[in-house]
Symmetry: C2
Subunit: 501 residues, 2 copies
């Protein structure tokens, strides 16, 4: 409060932001419930609840007095670097919320919903032409949105879309990084496959693996990684995710009784997301500057836990005996070397969500290139399947047998989401870059992992990433934590060490 006891413009803005964030927390909890708990008959009412909460949050965010308060606060900025960055982010959010005309937002929402429905049919029939007209209409609206956002944000249209998911990095930054990786892959992938073939397949542990036993194990490992029981839950849903709020994080996964790998690594992945939320600066809770730094930053935290820490030789040397004790049976499949082979396989596949860490970026790079062409207008929607298949062949040397295993596989575009995909691989590369920096900064990091102990890594992440909230954009966050912006070489070195030696 200011001395006069009347709130300043900045204080009014932060109070409003906290109110909006609290409404979004409620919606987030209801989203978790809808996926993990809700009986099917509750779906229609839940949809209404989401719509009303979103409408209230939008009305609060775009109320006429916000523009006045922003101008007043910018004329007399608050003290403190965090407060000033928070104000900048409040302005940024307001610009994004108001740059696109309301009627375009509404027609887009309807077109998105319609296109998604048609996509479900098209994918089931593996027939892109079914959805082509609907996607053409939707993409023209996405372009229109991007063109409305671009001048307001001082970004190119495609960068304006990327900014909605991961601020602080542009196509100019990402394109050379991805190009470098595509080149790396042309030689690395065949060599990794060759080495993998020479070593023969891993011995698979014998199931069945009880779902309850898997769940108890996953929860135990998640807590051991640093998540607090009194601030988290682990439940089941069709699609694993990390939801909830920073003081009440909800992780979900799914189990299959013939294998525990997916559930276990899935939970450690979501635990990485959860630890990020738990480590955000509480002094700026419910303020933009106190949020996670973006989707790429978030993915870096899930992948540093899953890929960098939990699939490391050190951690697997501790994990193997734990698994054997949990599931019993023969010891050989749980020997660390065998476990490593089972949990770290490269494979050229058509489906992104099934991809290993080496081939995954190829899927993202393909989508990143096609998205730019779609937004610039260089690529017509009608030509998308052909461009997809050519691009997949160029990157991974394989051609999808049909569109269901190609251009139709992901929901994102058919919902009108463009600019999100790059976050996944920015995150993977940032995870390797952060891990390399942590190894330099923190002594005994791998020795700790060899005892199932993530505390040294987590301590470093708390300081360098989690505790920084959104004080920095993506590349500046990396600069402060690692001394350089996003750089593919740490990731390539990680893959080289893991798959090529």
């Amino acid at each position: 409060m200011s001395q006069s006891n009347r709130p300043t413009a900045y204080e009014r803005l932060t109070a409003r932001a906290a109110r909006i964030a609290t409404i979004n927390e409620a919606a987030s909890m209801l989203g978790w419930d809808a996926s993990a708990m809700m009986p099917s008959g509750g779906g229609a009412a839940r949809g209404d609840q989401f719509a009303v909460l979103a409408g209230i949050a939008h009305t609060l965010a775009t109320a006429p007095e916000v523009a006045d308060d922003l101008a007043a606060a910018e004329a007399q900025p608050p003290e403190g670097v965090w407060e000033q960055e928070n104000l900048r982010l409040l302005r940024h959010g307001h610009t994004r919320a108001t740059a696109v005309p309301g009627d375009l937002v509404e027609t887009f929402a309807r077109a998105s919903s319609a296109c998604e429905k048609i996509w479900r049919v098209a994918r089931a029939d593996a027939n892109f032409s079914t959805v082509a007209a609907s996607l053409t209409e939707l993409m023209s609206m996405v372009r229109e949105q991007a063109q409305a956002l671009a001048p307001a944000l001082g970004l190119s249209p495609y960068d304006a879309l990327m900014d909605g998911y991961q601020p602080g990095i542009t196509t100019a930054d990402v394109a050379p990084v991805f190009a470098d990786y595509a080149t790396f892959l042309t030689t690395a992938l065949p060599r990794a496959e060759e080495l993998q073939a020479s070593r023969g397949p891993a011995r698979q542990p014998q199931g069945p693996f009880s779902e309850d036993v898997q769940e108890a194990l996953c929860r135990r490992l998640s807590l051991r990684a640093g998540l607090e029981a009194e601030h988290s839950r682990l439940d089941r849903s069709a699609h694993p995710f990390c939801g909830g709020t920073p003081t009440d994080v909800r992780i979900t996964t799914r189990y299959r009784t013939d294998s525990f790998h997916q559930a276990l690594m899935g939970v450690m992945h979501e635990t990485g997301h959860a630890l990020y939320e738990r480590g955000l600066p509480t002094a700026f809770a419910r303020q933009p500057v106190g949020n996670a730094a973006g989707m790429g930053a978030h993915e870096s935290q899930s992948l540093i836990v899953e890929m960098q820490a939990c699939r490391s030789d050190a951690y697997l040397s501790w994990l193997g005996p734990q698994l054997h004790e949990t599931f019993g049976g023969e010891a050989a499949p749980y020997a660390p070397e065998n476990l490593g082979r089972a949990l770290r396989q490269v494979h050229r596949g058509f489906i992104r969500v099934d991809a290993d860490e080496m081939t995954y970026p190829a899927h993202v790079i393909l989508r990143f290139r096609l998205e730019q062409a779609l937004i610039s207008g260089d690529l017509a929607v009608a030509d998308l399947p052909g461009a997809w298949n050519e691009g997949m062949h160029a990157l991974l040397g394989i051609t999808p047998p049909d569109d269901a295993q190609g251009v139709l596989q992901d929901i994102h575009w058919y919902d009108g989401l463009v600019g999100y995909f790059p976050s996944y691989s920015m995150g993977a590369m940032a995870a390797a870059q952060l891990m390399a920096a942590a190894r330099r900064d923190v002594g005994g990091l791998d020795a700790a992992l060899a005892q199932g102990n993530l505390a040294p890594l987590l301590g470093w992440l708390r300081e360098k990433v989690h505790g920084q909230g959104s004080l920095y954009g993506f590349n500046d966050l990396l600069r402060h934590a690692t001394g350089k912006p996003l750089d593919p070489r740490d990731f390539e070195a990680h893959l080289t060490a893991r798959y090529l030696t």
Copy 2:
């Protein structure tokens, strides 16, 4: 919509009511989560979420344009009995929401929260004097509220409070009903005790009873009673309740491994509440006229399922073998006659929530009399413990050994809730009255219960109670369903048949 395509005042009111109801649905779901799922660390944030949602709902309900729309709609009422009653209920709700000055609402909320905290200490110490001053202050605010509501509603101050929980019945209706019951009890209770003693104690089934097995049984019986799996869940919480929304009802209970009676009958009780919510008129969902008719009506539905149906000789004759099959062991404790003795015992006790169906109304009558005296000013808070103990002795012939087992046992008054208690026994009596009417109207009702089949009863309740929403106040609902207003004689006849023959 009106022909001009501009919404009428009534349409604006119903749209607003639906929006408020949808926000309250979100809050209800979060309330279930807080009790059944939330880790402790989420409590503070959840409190903020409740406060923000309640604030938004209150702002919508009391916005200046509501008064204008109400006046305009009343000048040109909608067509249809339901619509007209809905408009009357919208007015009624607005009157209640606006009659009490805003600053009194706020100071009351703070005083209530403070008094509840002190009560927890006082109860732990069994020392009423600790909380006397705080309760005196709170009760004076309750009186002030009642006096503000009374002229606006055209009711006496105490009736204005009762109306907040159960509309359509007044002290003038309830007092003679309760007096009749108190007289009945003076002879019935000793006779029931005598007969019970002459028959000796029931044989108790041998535990332990696995919580998971109990839960599966409870869920099965709840679904068999008519609840749909796709519109409900059964979970665990410290205090059993029925929450959620009409299309997504959430029941909770708690289990103990030495006995299954409490959990099982608790779930059937909550199933009665749930079936009411499921049977409300969907055409008026999220409108006042589409809601349950009040707390007394709601309790009538939980008790008609639990007390009238599931503890009946007919149902127990079916349930006994089910229980024996579920839990195994000796057959004798599950014989219907023995099960009846185990599940239907009278006992003069100090604690309301542990009371049997015969003595329970005595607890309510005591509170009903004391509440009236507190609100009229005839009884000072300082004299409450003495009045409590005298009243308890007059009604049940027992005197609490300390205030923790007396006036301090229930949270309601210390939260400032006055006028709620009568609903419990109105519900119990209405349940017996409705059951008697259903037996007259529906052939084979008990024969169906003897096969574990509640469908004939449920069909009748759907038509006579659930499907009527809030079209009628409490006594009119009973008049339409049973031909008379609330009448203690059916309840007394039910107890006579069950405990005195």
